[in-house]
């Protein structure tokens, strides 16, 4: 039986680890490669790198970071942020990433999902979504709307409908970034996670809001998530990954120790 995964999320900017609260007030808080090595040693099941100021000029820095990480980290890791074309995706996979994330650019160009899935297999294609809570309406039936461009632009897309479409196009995994919860340390959006986990047949990764091991347990059990993304809770050294896993294990959640 598969273990529930704990995924350490590293937002990176210029090769450094960065952290924002609700997508603003970004600070650079350390070297990304060094942080990756630390979380690997501490028992992360997987790593994610989001390049938060992805631009053409920064592409070489990103590839260099991916390469360095792949030389010293022997667990799967994925890369997202500003991947616009199939060639962008090929670049990070050849540099050593296991999978790629598409977010805004999947919304703008959904066929890119299928192109990546065809080239590398669905297991390489992660659909990452930024989700904002809304009043339920004729357009946003689920009460969750997809936003893009780092949370700045509303799309009018219902999150549940978009995610189902993304899976049909070839996404092999879905990340749910609950924007209202991001960086608050008040817990994941359990309702959103459960809604999506019950509606699709690929793994669901919950993201945004972890402040305690109890929150992580809640989203992996009540929320039905296959994996939990953690960032602030470990970057600011409130808890180590080892402590969180120890808690989950004692609480009866199957994790890799």
């Amino acid at each position: 039986m598969l273990s529930k995964r704990l995924i350490a999320c590293l937002d990176i900017r210029n090769g450094n680890l960065a952290k924002s609260i609700k997508f603003v007030n970004t600070k650079e808080i350390g070297d990304a490669v060094e942080a990756a090595g630390r979380y690997y040693a501490d028992g992360a099941d997987e790593l994610v790198f989001y390049d938060i100021n992805a631009s053409f000029e920064n592409r070489d820095i990103l590839i260099d970071t991916v390469n360095k990480v792949a030389n010293q980290v022997f667990i799967p890791f994925s890369v997202g942020g500003g991947l616009r074309t199939l060639d962008d995706c090929i670049g990070v996979i050849l540099a050593g990433a296991e999978k790629i994330h598409l977010n805004s650019n999947a919304v703008k160009n959904p066929t890119l999902i299928s192109e990546v899935a065809r080239r590398f297999g669905v297991q390489c294609m992660i659909l990452s979504t930024d989700v904002l809570r809304m009043e339920k309406s004729a357009r946003i039936k689920s009460g969750f709307e997809i936003v893009i461009n780092g949370g700045r632009t509303r799309t009018g897309l219902d999150a549940l409908e978009w995610i189902k479409k993304g899976v049909d196009l070839g996404a092999g995994e879905v990340v749910l970034n609950a924007i209202d919860a991001d960086g608050t340390l008040n817990g994941y959006d359990i309702e959103l996670t459960r809604l999506i986990a019950d509606s699709i047949n690929v793994p669901v990764v919950a993201s945004g809001g972890a402040g305690s091991p109890e929150h992580i347990k809640e989203v992996l059990t009540d929320g039905g998530a296959d994996a939990a993304l953690v960032s602030s809770i470990i970057h600011y050294k409130n808890y180590t990954l080892g402590e969180i896993k120890d808690y989950l294990n004692k609480a009866g959640v199957k994790v890799r120790l």
Partner: protein, 207 residues
């Protein structure tokens, strides 16, 4: 020196990086002569069995692999590499290398909540000891990504099982051949230990 077989089937660099990190000498080659003369062979693979077999047959690598295996070269198959060491794969209905008798079949868990591919960390149920697991905690988990699995006819070839709705062969071995469905190069310290053990394994099964 380990020879990593290059047959245009996916991510060879992750295996090479792991060996480099461990300080184990290796070369990546798709030349039949290099494979026949190799001291040890790692046969990785990601992707589709049918196109992999087409490449192996077209390039003459399939014949070189058979020669190497018959001569006793220690041989490690990984993921798709393991699958095409079987006699046949349902993925594309293709005849494979036939190092192990048995078919490769699609995972079809009866519990519909179980997702395909079987992707993530999973534990092993050991059926036999093997030198490549020396020094590895039996509770260690390994990283899997696959939709098909090898189903050997002879249960004696099974070293360890894993479970995803059903029990399936996660590790098989016979003589100088060892093959795992998971990715040792992506399985943290336990996976690296398998690669390290392989780098000094003489291909004998005696413990």
């Amino acid at each position: 020196m380990i020879t990593i077989v290059d047959y245009n089937a996916g991510n060879l660099t992750s295996v090479r990086r792991a060996l480099d990190y461990l300080g184990i000498q290796c070369r990546v080659s798709g030349e039949a002569a290099d494979i026949i003369s190799a001291e040890r062979i790692i046969f990785p693979g990601v992707g589709n069995a049918q196109s992999a077999m087409e490449n192996l047959n077209k390039t003459g690598i399939a014949a070189a692999l058979k020669t190497a295996v018959a001569s006793g070269t220690p041989f490690l198959g990984i993921c798709l590499g393991m699958q095409i060491m079987m006699s046949h794969s349902d993925e594309g209905d293709v005849k494979c290398l036939d190092f192990f008798d048995g078919n490769v079949v699609l995972l079809k868990p009866s519990d519909r909540r179980l997702k395909i591919p079987h992707m993530g960390w999973d534990s092993l149920k050991y059926k036999k000891k093997h030198k490549l697991f020396d020094g590895i905690d039996p509770k260690s988990e390994f990283y899997f990504v696959h939709s098909y699995y090898a189903n050997p006819t002879d249960f004696k070839d099974v070293i360890a099982l894993s479970e995803h709705g059903i029990d399936f062969a996660a590790v098989i071995g016979k003589g100088n051949m060892f093959a795992c469905q998971f990715h040792p190069e992506k399985s943290g310290e336990a996976g690296l230990k398998i690669l390290k053990n392989f780098s000094v394994w003489n291909g004998e099964v005696a413990l």
